[in-house]
């Protein structure tokens, strides 16, 4: 097992290097002057000369790459010319929102997808099965941005005057600025606390601020729903097909032949095996969520990594584009690595070898 872990980690290294390379080239390949690309059209020649010198842009390309790697490892992801702020700081401000959104979407996806998948799989070809699969097929075919806009319309306009009305954008009600939880608790303002305090729902929950909680949660429901629909459909389908596969296997027949009650057969024997592939789908959905986050945040006006990335692309804020892309890609690799290891741990067939 330890050998397997070591091997997987080793596999990740060339990939991480590849990511660094790609993001490095990203800025270099953009047509035009790298200085003006990074600092904006208005930079003067003087500033540019100093910039090129400081960034070592006159050095050979591999030296530049080395400098880039060094910068990344020391946490220097450059500076956004649009805001004049370090990319790293911007990242740390926005990452909590994206993570909160992704987690909420994932929760929705699992809480709805798994039960429906189980029912579908167990009652093969029943009405519930057909209905769920039709729903899943549709869900997987819907563009996220369209779903988001339609949900906005539905809950803000159509249901706007009912109790089901939900706010279409933003993270909190206007004018509501809740206290960070560490202040409420009298804890020191450490970075890590600050990071989590930017997750509005979590922060409100931790500070016991019911009003803020309701506001934050209300603003999070629609984006989470929009973002979570595709993973929900994938999870439901995977659960169903996995359960169907397992239910036809020999050891399920043995379990029944032993006289075990059906519930025990399904839960203890079938599901325990069937959920393994689903766990990996759940983990890997995080990758899909990251991609969808760009679209969802843009539509719902959430200031997370996705929206900032999109804004940076359209305003040609290349340092931000490069830095955010790098972090997202690395995060993706790490998540996949964790999922792979988790799968290995849960699957005794592989664990022992």
């Amino acid at each position: 097992m330890a050998r397997f872990v070591a091997r997987r980690l080793l596999y990740s290294i060339p990939v991480l290097l590849g990511i660094l390379l790609v993001t490095f080239l990203l800025a270099r390949v953009i047509p035009g002057d790298p200085c003006r690309a990074m600092l904006g059209e208005r930079a003067t020649d003087q500033i540019c000369d100093a910039f090129m010198e400081r960034k070592g842009l006159n050095e050979p390309i591999w030296v530049q790459f080395g400098i880039y790697i060094k910068d990344v490892f020391t946490g220097d992801l450059g500076e956004s010319f649009r805001f004049g702020r370090p990319v790293t700081t911007m990242l740390l401000e926005r990452l909590p929102i994206t993570i909160e959104l992704s987690m909420a979407a994932l929760t929705v996806a699992v809480l709805v997808g798994v039960p429906f998948g189980i029912i579908s799989g167990y009652k093969h070809n029943s009405l519930a099965d057909v209905a769920t699969m039709v729903g899943a097929n549709i869900g997987v075919s819907m563009p996220v941005f369209w779903l988001g806009l339609m949900l906005q319309y539905l809950f803000a306009v159509v249901l706007g005057h009912t109790f089901l009305s939900l706010p279409p954008s933003g993270s909190l009600d206007a004018g509501l600025i809740p206290q960070p939880f560490y202040a409420v608790w009298g804890l020191p303002a450490w970075g890590i606390f600050d990071f989590f305090s930017n997750m509005n729902v979590l922060n409100a929950a931790l500070s016991g601020n019911w009003e803020a909680f309701r506001s934050a949660a209300g603003h999070l429901i629609l984006p989470a729903l929009a973002l979570g629909t595709i993973p929900m459909a994938l999870i439901a389908r995977m659960t169903r097909s996995s359960l169907l596969d397992v239910l036809s296997l020999d050891y399920v027949r043995t379990a029944r032949a032993k006289g075990l009650p059906e519930k025990r057969v399904v839960v203890r024997h079938a599901l325990r095996n069937a959920m393994l592939p689903v766990v990996t789908v759940i983990g890997l959905s995080l990758g899909t969520l990251l991609g969808g986050a760009i679209l969802t945040e843009t539509i719902f006006g959430l200031s997370g990594v996705g929206k900032s990335l999109y804004d940076a692309i359209t305003s040609r804020d290349y340092a931000v584009v490069q830095g955010f892309t790098l972090v997202v890609a690395v995060g993706f690799v790490l998540v996949n690595l964790v999922v792979d290891l988790l799968y290995t741990y849960l699957n005794p067939k592989v664990r022992v070898t």
Partner: protein, 332 residues
Amino acid sequence: MTGPGSLVPDPLHPEGPLPTGPLPEGADLRGETARLPETRGLWATAFRELSHKRSARIGMVMLGLLVLVAIFAPLIAPYEPTQVLLGKEDVRPRDPPCIHLFGCDDSKPQHILGIDGNGRDEFSRLIYGSRVSLIAGVGSVAVAVAAGTLLGLLAGFFGGRIDNLIMRVMDVLLAFPSLLLAIAIITVMGQGLINAMLAISVVTVPAYARVVRSAVLTVRENDYVAADRALGVSTSRIIWNRILPNSLTPLVVQATLGVATAVLEIAALSFLGLGVRPPTAEWGSMLAAERNQVFTAPHLVFFPGLAIMWNVLSFNLLGDGLRDALDPRLNR
């Protein structure tokens, strides 16, 4: 990570391109030797199985309709997609739909879906958008399949360092969330439909490369290939006659499902303003243009999105149906 050394199923197609397994007892009870698809005509069997499955039938019908709409667009659409009507007719941007059949006054010009933000007929743009969608989706997948097949063949055939190198590059490509990577590529290449198609092709190549590579690896060790070599059959014939047919089925399934993904991603890119250039009528960019008007003119957002969904759903149903139809297992 779904790469070599990973035990993890591919999340987008978790059931896998072609499940394998032992034939169930039912095969024996029929008293016939189970007949492999090859002996009965692969396409004949596939079509027969497909037509049995209701979802696949629906997919085929949906796709058929879409293709017909795309082909006969000039006949169906009352106006040109890029024709600005402001000045020529008495209409204003974002005028609501006017359908004579449903009571709209006959004196006003008929616009089934109303006018878009730039004064063009929404319905015509919707119809013509089908062309862009289909061509973009199928085109990018075709390029990806071609490139992926080549890479897969190289990797599988030559093995060793070349295999390692190619697969590592594929892994790096897979390490990025696909939309993100496509965005990055477009940022570099510049906006445009062709560029968007190419970006999506690049992002989806790894899947096809892996399918072909694994087919090569499986077939390479087979006895009939050894027999071929002993008989002096040339490598290219081995590729053509043995390897390609073997990889055909998973490729076809993957490609069909891949078109669905490609259409979604190209629409997403256009939505973000990184795909087609205006004034091309493409559903994603039509959605993007009206996105802030969703509360006042929801129909301008609803129908393009619905059209995208129609397109994607048809390919998804077809791909799922193909996967089940080409499954060597006889039951289920």
